[in-house]
């Protein structure tokens, strides 16, 4: 039997670990989204599984190449998949973009023999596409189960009106991702309700945040973020919940730009879903990395009595 030691509240707890998941963090989770990575690892210990980091991982490329002849851009995710297959059969990710790139590449390797051979020749591996790619939320739903998660919640987030923001990469293309319904997904809502929060329904929940346009046309990305946040606020949200460091940058860190352009805009905190999970599981709020959030969530959390 394996155990982990973790500080929960004021005490240290010994936690029994039942399972391991091979885990690919991705570039941003090591730097600008450390809070996302760290909270997910701690929460997983509380839920009885460990995220075992993939050895020698590299960046996944951050975009799935849409030009059909661009095989070069498929090599980094293929190399990740091939090394992961040497260590296990399931690979899990947290970042929605990594999840999208890796899962789509995996599907492509499964289905396209010609490209598979080309890729394998180049990376000098023999990977056949037989890895299962899971998002952290899928593990929570399928392997832990939301009813069981609800039982493990120590501090229900009662009274918190949170807007679950899916973004695009988790869901689309629907056929390849198979994450949830393409127009009306509900997995994220179920997750928030298991934590005791109230999930706000808003029309922009699957709309794109502008993604990499924050490099090419920052104003356009700011406008996209304003529409998403505005719609959530109008529907009564007090906070946004995100699964992606890119979305979080656009909807959290760009709120100061939005404020300059739209004077009536009132900033709201944006959480990673694992941060909310951490609060609900009773982790000390000082270990949840709120200092990396652009809009300080502590006033809201203390107002709700979660600290």
């Amino acid at each position: 039997m394996r155990y982990a030691c973790l500080r929960v509240g004021r005490r240290y707890a010994f936690l029994e670990l039942v399972m391991d998941y091979l885990y690919f963090p991705g570039c941003t989770l090591y730097t600008k989204a450390k809070n996302f990575d760290q909270t997910a690892r701690n929460c997983s210990l509380l839920l009885g599984f460990e995220l075992k980091e993939l050895k020698n991982w590299t960046c996944c490329g951050a975009t799935f190449p849409l030009a059909t002849d661009n095989i070069m851009a498929l090599l980094p995710p293929s190399r990740i998949l091939a090394t992961a297959r040497e260590e296990g059969t399931v690979l899990t990710t947290l970042c929605a973009v990594c999840f999208n790139v890796i899962k789509r590449t995996n599907r492509l390797i499964q289905g396209d023999g010609e490209k598979r051979d080309k890729i394998n020749n180049f990376i000098e591996k023999n990977y056949q596409g037989d890895l299962q790619i899971l998002h952290y939320l899928e593990i929570l739903k399928q392997d832990i189960g939301f009813p069981q998660l609800r039982e493990k919640v120590k501090k229900p987030l009662e009274g918190l009106l949170a807007a679950p923001y899916y973004g695009c990469m988790l869901l689309r293309p629907f056929k390849e991702m198979g994450f949830d319904d393409k127009e009306k997904p509900t997995l994220f809502e179920e997750f928030l309700e298991a934590l005791g929060a109230k999930a706000i329904e808003f029309p922009y929940k699957i709309e794109c945040c502008g993604s990499f346009q924050s490099v090419g046309s920052p104003d356009v990305a700011t406008e996209c973020a304003y529409k998403i946040l505005g719609s959530a606020i109008q529907n009564g949200a007090e906070a946004m919940v995100s699964t992606c460091p890119m979305c979080t940058f656009n909807i959290d860190h760009k709120q100061s730009d939005i404020k300059q352009k739209h004077l009536d805009f009132k900033p709201i905190p944006v959480f990673y879903f694992t941060q909310l999970l951490g609060i609900a599981m009773g982790l000390d709020y000082r270990t949840l990395g709120f200092e990396q959030n652009a809009v300080d969530p502590l006033p809201l959390l203390s107002e709700k009595g979660f600290l």
Binding site: A62, L66, N70, E207, C208, S211, F212, G216
Partner: protein, 137 residues
């Protein structure tokens, strides 16, 4: 704007190049405008994605490549998932980008030295990796 159509232009080399890179059949498009209606960045586009597809199909290379539409595409695949004809429009937009970026002038769509100071430091890695892949030749 006056557009001249000739038999030589319709479905010419340019169109075929876009079809080849994207792997899509542009003749399938019947101009319903679902892509433009659902596009989250359509408000900033000079013409909608469906119009760019039409230009491309008619072989109007200059008209298709001069607009900002495909540069603004964020590859969120909303259009792709809603196209009633099953065209992967995001792939068409990416193919148009590639047509420009692969020209021998190698003209980039963003100039990194012109970024304001501290801009790159603020961005998460994920944004500039994907941005550079989409905008640099």
């Amino acid at each position: 704007m006056k557009i001249e159509l000739t038999r030589q232009k319709v479905h010419n080399e340019f169109t075929k190049k876009v079809e080849l890179i994207s792997g899509q059949n542009l003749f399938a498009c019947y101009q319903c405008g679902n892509c433009t209606a659902g596009c989250p960045v359509a408000f900033a586009m000079e013409v909608g994605p469906h119009e760019v597809i039409r230009y491309t199909l008619l072989g109007l290379e200059e008209e298709a490549l001069r607009v900002n539409t495909f540069w603004l595409c964020a590859s969120c695949l909303q259009c792709t998932s809603r196209c009633p004809k099953g065209i992967d429009i995001a792939r068409v937009m990416d193919a148009l980008r590639m047509v420009v970026l692969r020209k021998k002038e190698r003209k980039d769509a963003i100039q990194i030295p012109e970024f304001p100071e501290g801009f790159l430091e603020k961005l998460p890695q994920i944004a500039f990796i994907s941005g550079f892949r989409k905008f640099l030749s």
